[in-house]
Amino acid sequence: MGLQAQGIVKTFGTFKALGGVDLDIQRGEFVALLGPSGSGKTTLLRILAGLDAQDEGHVLFNDEDMSGRKLRDRRVGFVFQHYALFKHMTVAENIGFGLRVRPSVERPTKADIKARVDELLRLVQLERLGDRYPSQLSGGQRQRVALARALAIEPSVLLLDEPFGALDAKVRKELRRWLRRLHESMQLTSIFVTHDQEEALELADKVVIMNQGLIEQVGTPEEVYHKPQTSFVYEFLGGANRVPCEIRGGVVRIGSTIIPAPQVVDLKDGPGTAYVRPEEISIGAPSGAGVPAIVQHVFRASPLPRVEVQLVDTSLALDVTLPPDEAGAILAKGQRVTVNFSKFDVLPG
């Protein structure tokens, strides 16, 4: 099902949670709403679901305006951040709830409900836990119950609020892969909220990056990672270094060093900021070309050695990730080096 948000504005008291958001989601897409806390991503999700009402704008499902349409009629599968499982019902009762509360004409028979619940229990790999209560389950199991419960009503769209937020790292990875497979095999349209960039980039077809109630960028994981359009996206994704610089006649100058800047074409003269990721920096001999720097720290207790260097001219500290073969073995604290940027972007300001 296609889903559109048009000019969504939402204010809580004096706080503007969403300041005019437009979003277009195609049928079958797996979309991540990514942003820091307070960026409005959960508010947007709740408005798409109909759990909150927007102050302005429209939500369209298959080009049909959902404004004024009750939540019950939207057939939205919503998975709550803390799962919101019914504590006093068993797993099976939780999953069957959406079928049990249907008006009597539409309600499946008890046997049909049971069959459907069993099917869903198999789907989420909890076949033998149907009689348990939520309090007897682990976090990952609760998450899957919440998912099965949402799927039971055959939703037109699946919305998940921080689906892995409350889980530990190992369970999180497993569930992520499993959810991705589930999305594909059931041909769902899914939208999830997360503040974890790795999660968003790994799982989604389309990443929507939000900040302060507005969308900063929408694109595939590759696009948003490799072609960030705003300084916020640059800093939020991949932990890029910020390097203040001067732009003059299409040339970028950091301190007193002029560095080649292939991407900078139409930038106006004036101060700018170069964004460069740790893995896009290389370290060379002090006599070579590049920006002079001094090694401050070498961390070797990680998959890739990380080095912190300080630029001589500006005393700015940069994080550098070295390829494994260089191993950083030759580097030591206090050593003079030069750094080169294999790839970077410059934005004005």
């Binding site: 109909g50 009402a53 927007q54 102050d55 302005e56 004024g68 009750k70």
Partner: protein
Amino acid sequence: MSARAGTWGSWKRASVLPGFRLTLGYTLLYLGIIVLLPLAALVLRPAELGLVGFFETVNTPRVLASLRVSFGTAAIAALINGVFGLIIAWVLVRYQFPGKRLIDAFVDLPFALPTAVAGIALTTLYAPNGWVGALLTPFGIKVAFTPLGIVIALIFIGLPFVVRTVQPVLQDFDSELEEASASLGASRLQVFGLVILPSIMPALLTGVALAFARAVGEYGSVIFIAGNMPMKSEIAPLLIVSKLEQFDYAGAAAIAVVMLAISFIMLLILNLIQRWARRHEDSDR
């Protein structure tokens, strides 16, 4: 959806849960009939006396004496409960002793025991020929049928208020604070006086205030033990009842209004003191 947010949004946050208008409407109707309308009658009724009449009704020696008795005994009882309620809460939270569970449950007795039952039991107990009264008579102490008897009844009524407000705070008290102050060389007494007491003070004040508020209006447990001698041991609620029995509705309402006004002002002052006592607490607490 945007239309609904427009009409309700100004005073109520939109929600997907249904039934707000129905339940709020019912709540307001119920409160209106049970509380607001009768209270309006209470406040407006003395108006028929006029300001001068109102003043004359209240400013008689007997009424003033009864107010003094009510508020005075309530204050004394609340203070005594403050001390012993704190000790009981402390003992229940900090120490182990046989029968502790039972004692803990028993503290709520005054909430559950009808006041008239408490009244006749305490009177029989503290009468000159009663179990406790007989022990006190040789010392010339008369409890029943004196203001002292009123205080005893009000202690009974108010005790659980203090214990039950202090207990949870004491329970949650961070023992690291105690350990820290002990490690800095403070004695047990200093730890109690300088660290523990200040942090449970707001709760203790709340408990004392609740006990006091309850005691001021108490009727059932008091009238049996008080002896009800005008000017000496006659409480204000009893005076209201006797005015009613003479069909002096306005007079009864006037005394009631004065009682409520004094209680309100005292609670307001206590609230301010509490706010002051809580001034160092985290805002999220």
